[in-house]
Symmetry: C2
């Protein structure tokens, strides 16, 4: 088996086990068993459980980004792209309860490995830079020049992250059409009047 194949198998097994048992309780032995590999192989690829947890997180984050990219690619106008991007992000994260629990810090990691607040901060920066890039592309075409791309992006990133970490509230997060309507009415205008 190639190194890449075994890493993918370890990550698949780790995601499954971590999602079920949480990061604290899941052992490297359990993950090795689930992957059908010896625990020595797992330790060779990931010397510490924290590294494996982080690798799982990074891969999940990439998957969320791919889903958002695809949704934006299918939309036509800026308004549709914004609304589709926000809605897809919200649902792609919500579908990954392990990611949500880790960022919320619901006793999963207990100080070990990634600290929940720090993880959420890093995700915020990733999302902000992704949105800022999108806004700058529009500004390069002469649109929405009245706003600071980083600031607008950070407002949206912080709001999106808050909503996936704690979806209960008056902003509709459990119904695709309602989430999209919210994004269109309240988030798109943050870009400013053209």
């Amino acid at each position: 088996m190639s190194i890449d194949t075994s890493i993918e198998r370890i990550l698949d097994a780790a995601l499954e086990e971590l999602a079920e048992g949480g990061a604290r309780r899941t052992t490297m032995n359990q993950i090795a068993d689930a992957a059908g590999l010896g625990v020595a192989t797992v330790y060779r690829r990931f010397p510490r459980k924290a590294q494996l947890v982080e690798a799982v997180l990074v891969r999940e984050a990439q998957r969320v980004i791919e889903a958002v990219d695809a949704a934006i690619g299918r939309a036509q106008t800026v308004e549709e792209q914004s609304a589709a991007g926000f809605t897809t992000f919200a649902h792609a994260v919500a579908d990954r309860p392990f990611l949500v629990r880790l960022m919320r810090g619901d006793g999963e990691l207990d100080g070990e490995a990634v600290r929940p607040g720090e993880l959420a901060d890093r995700v915020m920066v990733l999302v902000r830079d992704y949105i800022a890039h999108f806004v700058r592309d529009l500004q390069a075409e002469g649109r929405y020049l009245g706003v600071d791309a980083d600031v607008v992006a950070e407002i949206q990133a912080r709001l999106a992250l808050s909503l996936v970490l704690a979806p209960d509230g008056r902003i509709p997060m459990h119904d695709d059409a309602a989430t999209r309507e919210f994004a269109t009415k309240y988030l798109v205008p943050l870009l400013g009047v053209e």
Copy 2:
């Protein structure tokens, strides 16, 4: 000493000790010593440390609200009130690092007592309802009728909370004038055009 006086003394001492040592490491004995009271008295008022931590938090939250109320009371226009309220809230919370650490879940409580994610959720609801009340008062005067008061309030509450929990970013949080300018340019327009 009256019950009220001893409770105030315990809360004062607890705030000091908790801010310094964190909720996990601080003992009821330390708090009793700092308050100049016997530990039996402390336990009579607060049978469990978690209850004492919660009482400290509630009192700090009330103080933040009083500061925001005072700032809003001094402002004249809606725009000034929004900007002053947001800026005062941000700084009143940032001045209470113990509150911030507890909500961030930086290993302070370790599953015991208040869970960080739940605490942040409760604060969000408090802040949202406070802002929604403010927006509804304006709507009762026929202003800003185009928005859902709860939704606008929740956007602002989630953003404010995110910014106090993780102030580093492209939104200026360390300089009063800049924070106020940000609020005026990006948050006040969320209320919609009159």
